[in-house]
């Protein structure tokens, strides 16, 4: 098991390097000249060629491309992503707190998504074709197809404005979490519940279920067999789902004025604030690799066959 974990991490590291390179290159390909962005942000009235060249030298952009990249990469490991072009503040001082806020929102939402999808997936699979299964599937299909911005607006109107029960925006108390979390959970639980359900169903048709029953095991024991095998799929699915949610809270954060990554990134993209965008891509990619690696390791702990295959 220890060997597997080391091998898995050894594969993850080069992947991160490749992603960091792509993040860096993509920003270099942008038609906007960073020097111009900085000068605009500083409110310089007339931008001359010399001024641009001077600023480029100041930003270190006159150096060879690879040197710029390695410089950036090494500082990144120390969480030093440079300074924002627009505000001049260190990137991490903006990104760090925003990341923390988004993580809070993501983890609370994910916990509910995992809870709902597993409970509903298992219950529906065991009652396949029954009225409960049909109605939960139909209802979740309906909820999943609602656009998040529309649902969010509707919920704000009803719960915050009409009933005056919950705050419309911000992140002041536990009750601030309720609406954003609800919107995210409604959007995703329906998708992941289906995966759990179909994984349960395919396992229920396996021979080992029939043999378990033929041996006289109680239905609870047989369901435990099925759960253990189905949840391995769930671990992989959620290992990817959590970073997906982390990266897609933009809409919800904007509507609820949540001071998180989504809000920060949208503003940075609009302002062409490259250091923040680069850092954001890197952090999100790292989250993907991290969660994916973690879910593989958890699965290998469940199923020793996977340890050998890698």
């Amino acid at each position: 098991m220890g060997g597997y974990i080391l091998r898995r991490i050894a594969v993850a590291l080069p992947l991160l390097i490749v992603i960091s390179f792509l993040a860096f290159v993509l920003n270099q390909l942008s038609p906007m000249d960073p020097a111009e962005v900085v000068l605009h942000a500083q409110g310089v009235p007339t931008i001359t060629e010399e001024l641009i060249a001077e600023t480029r030298a100041e930003l270190g952009m006159d150096r060879p491309f690879l040197i710029q990249y390695f410089d950036w990469l090494i500082s990144s490991f120390q969480l030093d992503f440079g300074s924002s072009y627009v505000t001049g503040k260190p990137v991490w001082s903006l990104l760090g707190p925003a990341l923390l806020n988004t993580l809070k929102l993501t983890l609370v939402s994910s916990a509910f998504i995992i809870l709902f999808s597993i409970v509903m997936g298992v219950v529906c699979a065991l009652r396949e074709g029954g009225w409960l299964d049909l109605s939960v599937r139909g209802f979740s299909f309906l909820l999943t197809s609602l656009p998040a911005y529309w649902l969010a607006a509707l919920m704000v109107w009803y719960f915050s404005v009409k009933l005056d029960l919950l705050p419309t925006s911000g992140m002041d108390s536990i009750s601030s979490y309720i609406l954003p979390v609800a919107v995210i959970v409604i959007g995703y639980a329906g998708i992941y519940f289906r995966m759990i359900r179909s994984s349960m169903l395919s396992n229920l048709n396996e021979d080992y279920v029939l043999y378990g029953r033929a041996c006289g095991l109680s239905e609870t024991s047989v369901i435990m067999y099925v759960l253990r095998n189905s949840l391995q799929v769930a671990v992989s699915v959620f290992g990817l789902a959590i970073p997906v949610i982390l990266g897609s809270t933009v809409v919800v954060e904007n509507i609820f004025a949540w001071p998180g990554l989504g809000t920060l990134t949208v503003n940075s993209i609009l302002g062409r604030d490259f250091p923040i965008i680069q850092a954001y891509v890197l952090v999100l990619a790292a989250a993907f690799v991290l969660f994916n690696t973690a879910s593989d390791i958890i699965n290998a702990a469940f199923n020793p066959k996977l340890r050998k295959e890698f």
Partner: protein
Amino acid sequence: MHSLEISRLKIWDSRTGSVIVPDSSFRVEQGKCLAIVGESGSGKSLTCRAIMRLNPASLQQSGHIELNGINLEELSDKEMRQFRGKHLCMIMQNGMRAFDPSRPVGAHLLKTLAVHYPWSRSDAIAKLKAALASVGLKDPDKVLKSYPYQLSGGMLQRTMIALALVLEPDVIIADEPTTALDAITQYEVVEQFIALRSRLGGMMIFVSHDLGIVKRIADDVLVMKDGHIIERGKTSDVLAEAKHPYTRYLVSSKLALSRHFTELMGGEAVVEG
């Protein structure tokens, strides 16, 4: 008194209404082995599962299934569950898929024994080890600790036979237990089935489409086609002078295959069955 009697068994799909097995009656006596022969889809497996009441909920069944004077249809779900394993033991076709893939094989065996017998864990392990050794598995300790993917199909088949030896059921239902195996392993597993019969002395239902194996193991044969029992009788009689054209066809195609094999091997090699 000691017999398994199935009368007027009917199996149908409640969703489509199509009848899969219209009306089957047969009987297995104490100490006898009945083979059910037929092509895929003839209703052999469904008949076996109907006896154990293990068909999916969409398949309905009616009729009378009586084991040693007890009507299985009248048992509650809980009573039926206690019957399974202890009185009616099933041996599956594909050993590789018959065990929970994410637990060691021993976990399932011990759990099964714990359901049916009040033995201590160490007693149960000792009995299992003895049974595993008796079916020719050289390292019982290792088998118990292995995950299914670490063992071969033949080893897992023997493991199921060993479990049956410990459970000492009245009836063993083997659903094509040799189909997924290669020829040599098949031969050895059939040997184990013959030994299992002689050691337990109970009843056995052996589903197969391999007439060669049927000839070696079964006293009586049922031939099924499209859900109907089209021929029945003593194994030697049915194989020697089949009445129904379909049985004759099965026997002759088997013979043709054996003859072809003998010719290919270039001579007088005796091909059993």
